[in-house]
């Protein structure tokens, strides 16, 4: 009788965990992190509340999960880059910081060379925002190459193509003396990281 009463009044999750009724595909659509209750309450104020009583000796942890957006609409590479976009772009913006003092007063331009136009647009926009947050002057303008130049440069290997393009941007005047260009690069379609290079006065520098 007591057993039946317990079964009736207890919520299903308390006994059967979070997996009942959810298939593995739905579970894998969650990104979860376990953290202390203090940290969870500070990161998600109002949404995760600390228990009122703090006199017990229990160490409580919280598992915070977020659901991935558009799980079936993106291919694997696009999903890998965009789910980690904030960390990636913050790191790339950080790699430009040694040049901020040297290039003070310049207008920063951003270009993204990605097989997927949508990924290129999003990463370019994110990096412009990150550079603006660093206090830099950023423009939406992008340098250009003549058709003939493009035809030659696109046939070069990547480690020759980008320095050549940088040199031609300066020579044809599309990259001015008051500009600094950051280029986001994908070297191999199998990778899920972005590389970056800096083009200033016709000189190309990789930002590793």
């Amino acid at each position: 009788m007591i057993a039946l009463l317990i079964l009736l009044i207890a919520p299903a999750d308390a006994f059967f965990g979070p997996f009942v009724g959810r298939n593995k595909e739905q579970q894998r659509n969650l990104d979860c992190e376990r953290m202390t209750d203090d940290l969870a309450a500070s990161r998600y104020p109002g949404r995760i509340k600390m228990p009122q009583s703090r006199v017990d000796d229990y160490d409580r942890t919280v598992v915070v999960c977020s659901e991935r957006l558009l799980p079936k609409l993106r291919d694997a590479r696009e999903a890998a880059i965009l789910t980690n976009l904030n960390a990636t772009i913050t790191a790339i913006a950080g790699r430009t910081s040694p040049y901020h003092a040297e290039l003070k007063g310049r207008t920063w331009l951003v270009e993204s060379h990605d097989p997927h136009a949508a990924v290129g647009a999003k990463t370019s926009f994110a990096l412009k925002n990150a550079l603006m947050k660093s206090g830099l002057l950023v423009s939406d303008r992008t340098p250009s190459l003549a058709v003939g130049e493009l035809g030659v440069i696109t046939r070069l290997p990547p480690f020759e193509a980008y320095p050549a393009a940088c040199y031609r941007y300066a020579k044809n005047g599309s990259l001015r003396d008051s500009d600094a260009l950051v280029v986001l690069v994908t070297l191999d379609p199998r990778e899920t990281v972005l590389h970056a290079g800096l083009c200033v006065d016709g000189t190309w520098t990789w930002l590793p």
């Binding site: 057993a3 965990g17 997996f19 992190e33 694997a76 789910t83 590389h195």
Partner: protein, 232 residues
């Protein structure tokens, strides 16, 4: 008396019934692009270091290293494995060891450590387990992490990643019955068996490691290019 003994045996058997669930939490189920059957790491000299510790016994670390050697050799890499803490890079660049295929020129070093972040025996679930004669499951939950560090041949840090997952074990006739009922609706790969959970965890880990090592290889390539041709 006989009925009581039969009942006790049934409860004992029911309490040993276990469902085993694996849930990747972060890192393990990130999207991947590399095909593990392709030579993604052709001619890359890779050292795999498996560090025994919290969750990884010496024998498990050795098994892990051997499996990773096979995984990366299938992708074209030249692999050496090390069990224990990695040697300092100054020492590893000493006289070449004929037994070590990457002694002369190391391209990448992969360091692996595993630890248990959290373990919970869910005391209220075990109380309910007892009161309901195993109809309510007794639950043991554990969260584990695998820490990965990737360095190039000079010791420069190329990447660091943490893969976290959770294992939930539920004991009792109730959990077993619910699992059996769900099994009828789910394909074989979606069932809660330890063998299936272990296989899924291994698959996730191998995919993730393959992608992480490939990404690190590309970073190392850019780093070499940046060092070789500064300010072209």
């Amino acid at each position: 008396m006989l009925a009581k003994i039969r009942f006790a045996v049934c409860v004992a058997l029911a309490s040993s019934a276990c469902t085993y669930s694996y849930q990747p939490m972060s890192g393990l189920h990130r999207p991947f692009v590399v095909d593990m059957q392709q030579p993604n790491l052709a001619d890359v000299r890779l050292e795999v270091v498996c560090v025994p510790g919290d969750l990884l016994s010496r024998s498990n670390a050795s098994t892990l290293c051997n499996r990773l050697r096979t995984l990366f050799e299938q992708q074209g890499a030249i692999v050496a494995t090390t069990l224990g803490e990695p040697v300092e890079f100054e020492d590893s660049l000493g006289p070449s060891d004929p037994a070590n295929p990457v002694a002369e020129r190391l391209d990448l070093r992969l360091e692996l450590r595993a630890r248990e972040e959290h373990r919970s025996f869910q005391p209220w679930s075990w109380l309910a387990f007892a009161f309901t004669f195993t109809l309510a499951p007794g639950t043991i939950e554990s969260t584990f992490s695998q820490d990965i560090v990737l360095r190039d041949g000079t010791g420069f840090l190329l990447g660091r990643e943490r893969m976290t997952g959770r294992i939930v074990e539920q004991y009792g006739a109730g959990a077993w019955a619910v699992s059996l009922a769900e099994t009828r609706k789910r394909p074989k790969g979606d069932r809660k068996a330890q063998s299936i959970a272990s296989q899924e965890l291994s698959t996730d880990m191998y995919r993730r490691l393959s992608q992480t090592v490939f990404d690190a290889r590309m970073r190392a390539t850019v780093l070499r290019e940046a060092s070789a041709g500064v300010g072209r």
